[in-house]
């Protein structure tokens, strides 16, 4: 049962992911990505990562993806130009992607890895709520890293501001001398009738 769910969600996630890179419309791509995240979050739930799954949905889908969507829409993009067509090189790219995957899968498969080889601690933790446990670790063992992550976010904020901010826009104040000095000849353009 769980396996079937996994298969369904995995399939959805993968198809969505594929559509992200294949879709011709960026808005759709973002939406597919959101779908992909949702589906993946579902699989995470099956892996006893409830808190993370929720976070993924909340933070990613709720914030990051919306940001994406926002940017896509805000930028006045001529989608016609961006309509990606599969070029003649695409098969090679596809082959490469498949090859990379096959290789990774082949390597991983050799190790005969399976759940349960080291017990199932997480299920037990999940019963008490893994958010608490996670918080415990993050604020003790990984305090330093937590601080760093904080700085990282600060940096991201600064960076984003620095990148987008175009300096103080001059306020539109009335300039009396300018108005007085204005010459009608420069202001009025006579357009010939024909």
């Amino acid at each position: 049962m769980e396996y079937a769910f996994f298969l369904i969600f995995a399939a959805v996630a993968l198809i969505a992911a594929a559509m992200v890179i294949l879709s011709r419309n960026p808005v759709r791509a973002v939406l597919f990505l959101i779908l992909c995240f949702f589906a993946t979050a579902a699989t995470w739930l099956m892996l006893n990562a409830e808190f993370l799954a929720i976070t993924l949905v909340l933070v990613y889908v709720g914030a990051v993806m919306v940001l994406f969507l926002f940017v896509v829409m805000m930028l006045d993009i001529d989608f016609a130009i961006l309509r990606a067509k599969l070029t003649r090189w695409s098969p090679i790219g596809l082959a490469l992607a498949i090859a990379v995957f096959a290789l990774i899968a082949e390597i991983i498969e050799k190790d005969q890895i399976a759940f349960g080889q080291h017990g199932d601690e997480l299920s037990k933790i999940a019963e008490t709520g893994n958010a608490a446990k996670l918080g415990e670790i993050v604020f003790t063992n990984y305090l330093l890293q937590f601080e760093l992550a904080g700085i990282l976010l600060l940096v991201a904020i600064i960076a984003a501001i620095v990148l987008i901010y175009r300096g103080p826009r001059s306020r539109k104040l009335q300039s009396i001398p300018k108005q007085i000095a204005a010459d009608p000849k420069t202001r009025v353009h006579l357009v010939s009738g024909d």
Partner: protein
């Protein structure tokens, strides 16, 4: 027992000093002082050498062999600079100094108006120094030093008038040909060192019989040495430089290209007799080459029209005689001919020089004629020279040449019989070209322009006196020296194996004093050959002047061959030079420029640049290309790591 070291040093240093003074300070000294210094120092040297020769003739001095200083000590071998004075070298020294002195004096007159006056004296003094070093050397290094020294001075003197293209062509040719010979020479010297472990004459000669055990070694050494000698003494086929060398001033032709340098080869072989004796092969080659040179060059001399070239070819022919004598192991005879030839050939050249000056540098005998009326002394000297050369009984040349012919006849070296007939016949040829020269220059009608004819007069005293002084030994030296020579004057200096010793054989069987030899000559063939030659020349050039042309018409092919000098020059010019040139061009253009530089050096640079351009194009600027390549790289590395490495 007197120490003769000071004498030796005086002899050798004087010319060097003269050269240095005239060379470095010539401009400051002025012409007059320069020639006074040069001639004065030569006189000192000559006097010392006469004293020395006298001492040796008297038996007052013994052969003297001493090192002055160590030139190089390397690899356990000591190479020194020193002198070997024995009868052979002392005689040579005297001859060289005498001729050199005469030429010095003669040059005062001959070179009088030349802008390079001091330079000339510097050169000839330096030449004398080099020649003396060669002669007095007691080891191979020094021999080579002198050998090259005379070669270089010859080069410089042939090219003395360096603004003449022909002169600079000739001197380079001379040096080149000599260098070809030096290849053989230096290989031989190296072989000597290799087989004997020494370069010192005494110790090398002491081991000669040991080397002889290895016939390859002795043959290599002797043939190598002979190649050197052949170049210096202008034997076929390395003779081509000598006729051209006549581009130099005439005194030079007399000194270098008649009396001294060209005979260095002969001297050297005589000096090396202890080695040559053991190499029958080398002796045969020497014999044959010498005989061919005698004959062929004599023939060429007949058709030449340039007065100096005729004499030059005659020199070649006479050198051939000497070489033949060496080949027959009659080293003493060769040396004797060398001495007498030095005198009479100097006369011929100097007299020719006198004629040339008188005719304002006209050298074509077809533009001369009847000069005996205007230049009696020159004529007399020339006549003496020619008579001596053709071997008129009693003259110096007679004794030496007759001795050669006799000894060759006795020799049992393979090829001796062939050589004998050739040298015998060459007597005839000698007479023809000699008399042709004499007749065309001094007899017949004057063919020079009126202008010149009116100003014809005998040359000044500085020119005629040396001529006359040289005439004396040209007449008497043979008669004086013959019995000494035949009776082992050279003593230990020349070594002959008993089975080769034709001179002793001659001394025992046929020789009973110079006078008897003179008398006896009228019963032998050579004199009649010479006479026949004289008559033939008389017929052709005085009695029947159109005879030569008829002969030419009759056998024009031979004539052309002779005009072509048997084609040696043509061969060099048409075959050797172009081949060398084209090989050089191939090496330069194909080898260096195309292959090494073009393909390897610049080629690799081009490959790098091409690759660089390719990489530039790969760096297309498109992000997806970058990522594609990165991921492809990632894939390849993973593939290699996990699959191809057969890991796991």
């Amino acid at each position: 027992m007197y120490d003769i070291k000071p004498l030796a040093i005086i002899i050798i240093i004087s010319p060097l000093l003269g050269a240095i003074m005239t060379g470095l300070f010539g401009k400051a000294l002025g012409k007059r002082n320069s020639h006074l210094i040069a001639c004065g120092l030569m006189t000192i040297s000559f006097a010392a050498s006469c004293y020395l020769l006298y001492g040796f003739l008297q038996g007052k001095y013994q052969p003297w062999n001493r090192y002055l200083y160590t030139w190089a000590n390397s690899g356990g071998i000591n190479i020194g600079v020193g002198f070997l004075l024995d009868n052979l070298s002392v005689l040579m020294v005297a001859v060289v100094n005498f001729v050199s002195l005469m030429v010095h004096v003669y040059s005062i007159g001959y070179m009088h108006d030349d802008p390079g006056y001091q330079r000339f004296f510097c050169y000839i003094s330096l030449f004398t120094f080099a020649m003396l070093t060669l002669v007095m050397a007691n080891n191979f290094m020094q021999l080579f030093f002198g050998w090259e020294g005379v070669g270089v001075l010859s080069y410089l003197l042939i090219g003395f008038w360096f603004d003449r293209p022909s002169a600079t062509f000739a001197n380079l040719k001379a040096f080149l040909v000599n260098r070809v010979g030096d290849v053989g020479f230096i290989v031989a010297i190296a072989a000597v060192l290799n087989y004997t472990g020494s370069l010192d004459y005494t110790s090398v000669f002491a081991q000669a019989s040991n080397i002889a055990a290895n016939s390859n070694a002795i043959n290599l050494i002797c043939i190598g040495l002979f190649i050197g000698a052949a170049a210096k003494s202008a034997q076929i086929p390395l003779h081509v430089w000598l006729p051209d060398s006549m581009e130099g001033p005439t005194p030079i032709s007399a000194l270098i290209h008649a009396a001294t340098m060209v005979t260095a080869g002969v001297f050297m072989i005589a000096r090396m007799s202890p080695l040559f004796e053991y190499s029958e092969m080398a002796l045969t080659i020497i014999l044959i080459i010498g005989a061919l040179t005698t004959f062929m060059m004599g023939l060429v001399a007949i058709v030449q029209t340039d007065i100096k070239r005729i004499i030059a070819y005659s020199t070649l022919s006479q050198l051939g005689y000497m070489v033949v004598a060496l080949g027959a192991s009659a080293y003493a005879a060769g040396i004797l001919h060398l001495v007498t030839h030095a005198f009479f050939k100097s006369i011929l050249f100097l007299a020719a020089g006198s004629v040339i000056i008188a005719l304002h540098h006209e050298q074509d005998i077809m533009q001369m004629g009847n000069l005996r009326r205007y230049m009696p002394i020159t004529f007399a000297a020339m006549l003496i020279g020619i008579l001596s050369m053709i071997g008129l009984p009693g003259m110096a040349g007679f004794y030496s040449k007759d001795l050669i012919i006799e000894t060759v006849a006795m020799s049992k070296v393979p090829g001796a019989t062939f050589a004998y007939y050739i040298v015998l016949f060459s007597v005839f040829i000698t007479a023809i070209y000699s008399f042709r020269l004499l007749f065309l220059v001094f007899y017949t009608d004057a063919r020079m322009s009126q202008d010149i004819q009116q100003h014809l007069h005998e040359s000044p005293k500085v020119i005629t006196i040396p001529l006359l002084l040289l005439s004396i030994p040209a007449i008497i030296s043979g008669g004086i020296l013959i019995s000494q020579v035949v009776h082992g004057f050279f003593g230990s200096a020349i070594f002959v194996l008993p089975q080769h010793d034709v001179i002793s054989e001659f001394a025992v069987h046929d020789f009973s004093g110079a006078l008897n030899m003179f008398l006896h000559s009228f019963t032998s063939l050579p004199v009649y050959f010479a006479l026949a030659g004289g008559v033939a020349a008389w017929l052709c050039y005085i009695k029947l002047p159109d005879m030569p042309n008829r002969i030419i018409k009759f056998n024009s092919r031979l004539y052309l061959l002779l005009i072509d000098k048997f084609g040696f020059d043509k061969f060099n010019a048409v075959v050797i030079v172009p081949i060398v040139n084209s090989i050089a061009n191939i090496c330069s253009n194909f080898g260096d420029k195309t292959c090494i530089d073009g393909v390897v050096v610049n080629g690799s640079a081009r490959v790098v640049v091409k690759t660089s351009g390719l990489l530039r194009r790969l760096q297309s600027g498109y992000l997806y290309n970058y990522t594609f390549m990165m991921i492809a790289g990632l894939f390849v590395i993973l593939l290699w790591f996990f699959v191809l490495r057969k890991f796991g």
